[in-house]
Amino acid sequence: MKRSPLTLQRQLFGSLANSAFTLALFALLVWAGWGVLSWAFGSAQWLVLRANAATLTIGRYPDAQEWRLWLLLGMLTSLAGVSWGRLRGLNNWPLNDRIAALLFVISAVLLPWLLAFGAINQLRLIFLVLLLLLLRQWSGGAWSKAFGKWWALVWGITYVFGLWLIAGGLGLPAVRPSDWGGLVFTLLITSLTLLLALPFGVLLALGRRSGLLLVRWVCVAVIELIRGAPLITLLFVGQNLVGFLSPNGFAPDRVWRATGVLTVFAAAYLAEAVRGGLNSIPMGQQEAARSLGLSSVQTMGLVVLPQALKVALPALGGQCISLLQDTTLLSIVGLFDLLGIARSVLANPDWLGRYAEVYLFLAVLYWCSCAALALGSRALEKRLATNYS
């Protein structure tokens, strides 16, 4: 829709009708904005968030074991800082990250004050943000490049270590999954589900294109059945029927069952995204790889899949965001994800009717996470885009 270059003024107030329309829209915006602001600073009672900040973050995780989560957060922050610095060091890094750095500083100062954290927690947060920014500054250099390919492994080990920190056992006092909750639970389940679902989804996608009829049919059936059912009915199966299908009704904890269901669910959708990518890779790639003497596994793993995944990246990113949003359904089957714990906070008669405050806070949290994920996946797309020129 190319138009002759118009000044902003002419675009907004070009004709009488347009002016009236613009003014009406503007009035509407002002009215809505004023309404929200006067509610937020007038009748809203934010005490509910201050009083329950810890519950919303970590659920019913035992106080005495809280240090484990802080330790984990510290480790993740350091890693993120170094990774951030390394990414910046790359010569075609597509994002300007000064705004992000500023946001981190602002939130580290503002959040504890808004949510009335104790002095110790406030100091901890500020320390973490400083750590993040310093590492970002320092780690673009040579010493971190020396790590090179091992960096992914460091992340992997930290993740497993983090799982152990959260769950305990092997020397640490165990914290049962039913005591996990809040933001930590949501992040944990989302990341775990993603890590498990991606390989499973790739397998399903490959199976769907397989020449073996039986394999293909089974994969198609699994994918289409799962995509045809609402997630909540699948979670219902996980919570109510798994026991019927296992010997002597053995069933793992409901948290694990829900994770399993989410994994299978996400895998079916990821499989479709991957299939789109696979379809876009020209046959010649495969033939060329085969004629170079690569085995079928090598062809798939080294030539076809990497390209296909790159093509599928936008769709995969979208699925990650969907998955994060879908974890809220766990609250319907009685698990304490972020929304579930919020609902149980709101069930306390002390906080009767404080729905708007809590749900809006959650909306902001989810929005920021999803937007960050979208931004990240777009940056990754740009970074990986092959430039043939």
């Binding site: 347009n18 089974v218 045809g228 019927f244 989810y366």
Partner: protein, 324 residues
């Protein structure tokens, strides 16, 4: 010549013969599958036997004994479970159909508005889409229900909007009047239905708007310019030139959005609207027939999806370019 080549020059060992290996693998896979399924079924059989239950649909004709808050299909507690489930299905269809119409309307308007010449309007559509798509639907639903609709005033202090009255007892369309402290007359929507529709429509419309935007963007610029030079107004261009072409891209995209909406309607259970899933859950509680109820649910949702797809395919055939 052919006869000679028919005997292979080199004897290929069987494990290098892809066809044979393929069949072998399939056989192994099939065997695994069979064993797995057999094991699962055996477990099921044993667990059900232990609990003294057998798979049957006989309970469907038993009287349900529970009431349902609102039904289009006449239903009372003495009717059968089957009828209760049917009433739930019709409640689901009610939400899905009205949701589809409203969300399509809103989505098309927002999608078209994102091409407006007015930057303020474009900005608002962008904010709307980005805001709604990045917040989980369930959170939006509980927000609309618990934070917005449940905070409405009681009937005697109802909010009056033109042709609309909002109160804790429901949303009243077309002039209800206050009689003895209760609003009566007009068309009443329960708060649960109203909240569900609001949430679903606002959420789905954002995705539909993106589909519409993509469709419109797929129409070559030349079409706009040509229509403009013919002296058509922007609305006319959109309606007569661009949309008919864009529809070919839009309709397949709408199909998947419609299916999502149908599936998402099952979140009604979180805000007390008696849709199919909610009634099925009650039925499960009162009968303990988990497997049967689940299979029924799965079947119904699959059929619903297929129906939507079939309808959209029919529409797709209609809007397809008729080439002669």
């Amino acid at each position: 010549m052919i006869k000679i080549l028919a005997t292979p020059l080199i004897q290929v060992p069987w494990w290098r013969n892809n066809r044979k290996v393929g069949w072998l693998l399939q056989a192994a896979f099939g065997l695994f599958l069979l064993i797995a399924i057999a094991l699962l079924l055996a477990n099921l059989e044993r667990n059900l036997a232990r609990a003294g239950m057998r798979l049957t649909l006989g309970w469907m004709s038993q009287p349900a004994g529970f009431d349902i808050a609102e039904t289009l299909l006449p239903y009372k507690a003495s009717d059968s479970y089957g009828r209760a489930l049917l009433a739930g299905l019709i409640n689901t269809l009610r939400v899905v159909i009205s949701g589809l119409i409203l969300a399509t309307g809103l989505g098309v308007v927002v999608g078209a508005a994102s091409f407006s010449a007015n930057p303020l309007l474009r900005g608002i559509t962008r904010i709307y889409v980005e805001l709604v798509r990045n917040i989980p639907l369930l959170l939006q639903l509980v927000f609309w229900y618990f934070a917005v609709f449940l905070s409405l005033p009681p009937a005697d202090q109802a909010l009056h909007l033109p042709g609309l009255q909002l109160a804790k007892s429901g949303i009243y369309l077309f002039g209800a009047r206050l009689i003895n402290g209760e609003l009566e007359g007009g068309l009443r929507l329960s708060l649960e239905l109203a909240a569900l529709l609001t949430g679903l429509v606002i959420y789905s419309a954002a995705f539909i708007a993106e589909v519409v935007r993509g469709g419109i963007a797929s129409v070559p610029k030349g079409q706009w310019e040509a229509a403009e030079s013919l002296g058509l107004q922007p609305i006319q261009i959109l309606r007569l030139v661009v949309l008919p072409q864009a529809l070919r891209v839009i309709v397949p995209g709408l199909n998947s959005q419609y299916i999502s909406l149908a599936k998402n309607s099952s979140l009604a259970v979180a805000i007390g609207y008696p849709d199919l899933y909610a009634v099925a859950e009650t039925t499960l509680n009162q009968t303990g027939r988990g497997i049967e109820v689940f299979l029924l649910l799965l079947l119904i949702y699959l059929v619903l999806n297929l129906l939507i797809s079939a309808a959209m395919n029919a529409v797709n055939r209609l809007v397809r370019l008729q080439e002669r």
